[in-house]
């Protein structure tokens, strides 16, 4: 493997570590946001996502996503079962090859966080064993195909979104964000509302944890977006600064949105805004200028700030706002490419409506959004329903009221009085 580019490899290895770090970050972010009685369960859902997804990825997940397309652009083949034929292999363009296993690791971390995100929609009420099973089924039936569609470029014969439709998604606006948003909506609907939804505030029990989690996610997102350049290139640098600008912009625009609505600038708002901005720039970070990224952040933050309140209106309990933040944020980013994407940033990108005057790219982006959302929502809905009807997906009412930590895990999160704890 003498031909690999060590600089590119270093960056992709590091990016894999960074994106993996996002899932414990998400556990902290989500864990702080629920009530104290179910915080460990919330975190445990993320850790199960890491465990189950990793095992599946090695056994067959990587293969069905990145294996040679089976013909119709829907799914990859089984050539890499057990990571067969990946050791000592390389991927990437000439002079910029990296070890295939670095790519395997990097992509694995995307699968992990995508399914972990869903747990936010069903906080405080899911049966843990059902969640563990759901993770495995969902990665196989929902994540894997969508990731193949949009990530498995194989010179025109790979996934249909990237290779046939030609829509642009730099780092996972469809695969990770819109997918998780649509699936979250399906889950929230199937599981139903928490006891006390709309009546009780159900406010975050530990806001410093939420901010810490947001910081960990922000940090890891540089690996997510800039790592998607698959090398330490100028494009990676562009993706990184764009990520920073959009994230910061959205944090501020959410804050301003709150003030304009007559409220206070809340900590939860700033943290959510940062995530919404990072989400919105995810598909676009390699295709727009920094000023474009700023616009995406400002719009993405405000749109998500508006979207999170929809759940009260439409009466579904997407507990930690996966739909509003990831679903809507991802849509903003995908559409933005169709509007302000420019080849001046990346010749492999495209020119959006405002650059070329042609709606052609925008149309492709919309198709990619709709296809992803429709498939993800439908398939997830069916999977969740089947689980609900068979082994059950929701805990009993008294378990939910007591909290999942003591009932499901026989633990409680805190015992911080130094004098009474033994």
């Amino acid at each position: 493997m003498s031909g690999i580019n060590t600089g590119d490899t270093a960056w992709v290895l590091m990016s894999g570590a960074l994106v993996l770090f996002m899932t414990p970050g998400l556990a902290i972010f989500y864990g702080g946001m629920v009530r104290a009685k179910s915080t460990l369960n919330m975190m445990m859902m993320s850790f199960a996502a890491i465990g189950v997804t990793t095992i599946i990825w090695v056994i067959y997940g990587y293969s069905i996503v990145f294996g040679k397309d089976t013909g119709s652009g829907i799914i990859g083949n089984l050539d890499h079962i057990g990571l067969n034929n990946t050791i000592d292999q390389v991927v990437g363009g000439e002079g910029h090859t990296i070890p295939t296993l670095a790519f395997v690791m990097f992509q694995l971390t995307f699968a992990i966080i995508t399914v972990a995100l869903l747990s936010g929609a069903i906080a405080d009420r899911a049966k843990y064993s059902s969640w563990v099973i759901f993770v495995g089924v969902w990665i196989t039936l929902v994540y894997a195909p969508i990731a193949h569609w949009a990530f498995a470029g194989q010179g025109g014969t790979g996934g249909w979104i990237i290779d046939k439709l030609g829509a642009l998604d730099f780092a996972g606006g469809t695969v990770v964000e819109i997918n998780s948003g649509a699936a979250a909506l399906a889950l929230a609907i199937v599981l139903g509302k928490r006891e006390g939804f709309k009546r009780d505030p159900m406010r975050p029990h530990n806001m410093p944890l939420v901010l810490l989690g947001a910081g960990m996610l922000w940090f890891g997102w540089f690996g997510f977006n800039a790592g998607s350049a698959l090398g330490a290139s100028g494009l990676a640098a562009t993706a990184m600064i764009n990520t920073q600008v959009a994230t910061a912009g959205a944090a501020m625009s959410w804050l301003v949105y709150e003030k304009i609505k007559g409220g206070k600038a809340t900590t939860l708002g700033v943290a959510s805004g940062a995530i919404a901005g990072a989400v919105a720039i995810t598909p676009a970070c390699g295709y727009v200028t920094p000023l474009g990224a700023l616009a995406i952040g400002l719009v993405g933050g405000a749109v998500s700030a508006w979207a999170v309140s929809r759940k009260y209106k439409f009466n579904y309990d997407d507990s930690l706002d996966v739909v509003g933040v990831h679903g809507f944020g991802g849509i903003v980013g995908m559409i933005a490419i169709g509007l302000i994407g420019t080849k001046a940033v990346n010749e492999l990108g495209g020119n959006g409506l405002f650059v070329s005057g042609s709606p052609s790219l925008l149309t492709k982006q919309v198709i990619a959004i709709l296809a992803t959302a429709a498939y993800s929502f439908t398939a997830t809905f069916i999977i969740a329903k089947v689980i609900q009807k068979t082994i059950g997906f929701r805990v009993r009412r008294d378990v939910e009221l007591e909290g999942l930590d003591t009932t499901t895990h026989a633990e409680s999160a805190y015992d911080i009085n130094p004098f009474t704890s033994r």
């Binding site: 505030p201 406010r203 609505k261 409220g263 809340t266 939860l268 999170v308 309140s309 009260y312 706002d321």
Partner: protein
């Protein structure tokens, strides 16, 4: 023997402690409480929705006193706790039949 229970603002605890000590009372018990009354709570916001936290943090102070000291100490506590603002709190007095000092098993006034 009487038990004086005072529900007061947290910020007043230090002053009351000092006042008691300089008036010959060398013990008290303190615990956290919260209450509502005429004083309004504060408003918190979660995802744009306002909700009122109307149980306002207070501190409960309990002091055992001899009958002879009651009026003096009661006034002392009330005056020290007073800030003139709403939510200053309540103080009440309850009759106590026996007091025991655990360490020595002394009873009554000796136990104070």
């Amino acid at each position: 023997m009487k038990l004086i229970t005072a529900i007061v603002k947290p910020a007043r605890v230090d002053d009351i402690k000092v006042a008691l000590q300089s008036n010959g009372i060398h013990g008290m018990t303190v615990s956290e409480a919260s209450g509502f009354g005429r004083q309004k709570g504060h408003t918190e916001i979660y995802r744009g929705a306002e909700y009122v936290v109307d149980l306002i943090p207070k501190v409960r102070i309990e002091v055992l006193v001899d009958d002879a000291d009651l009026n003096r100490i009661l006034d002392l506590v009330v005056n020290t706790a007073n800030s003139g603002a709403i939510g200053d709190g309540k103080v009440w007095v309850i009759p106590v039949e026996t007091v025991v000092r655990v360490r020595t098993n002394e009873r009554g006034s000796d136990a104070l």
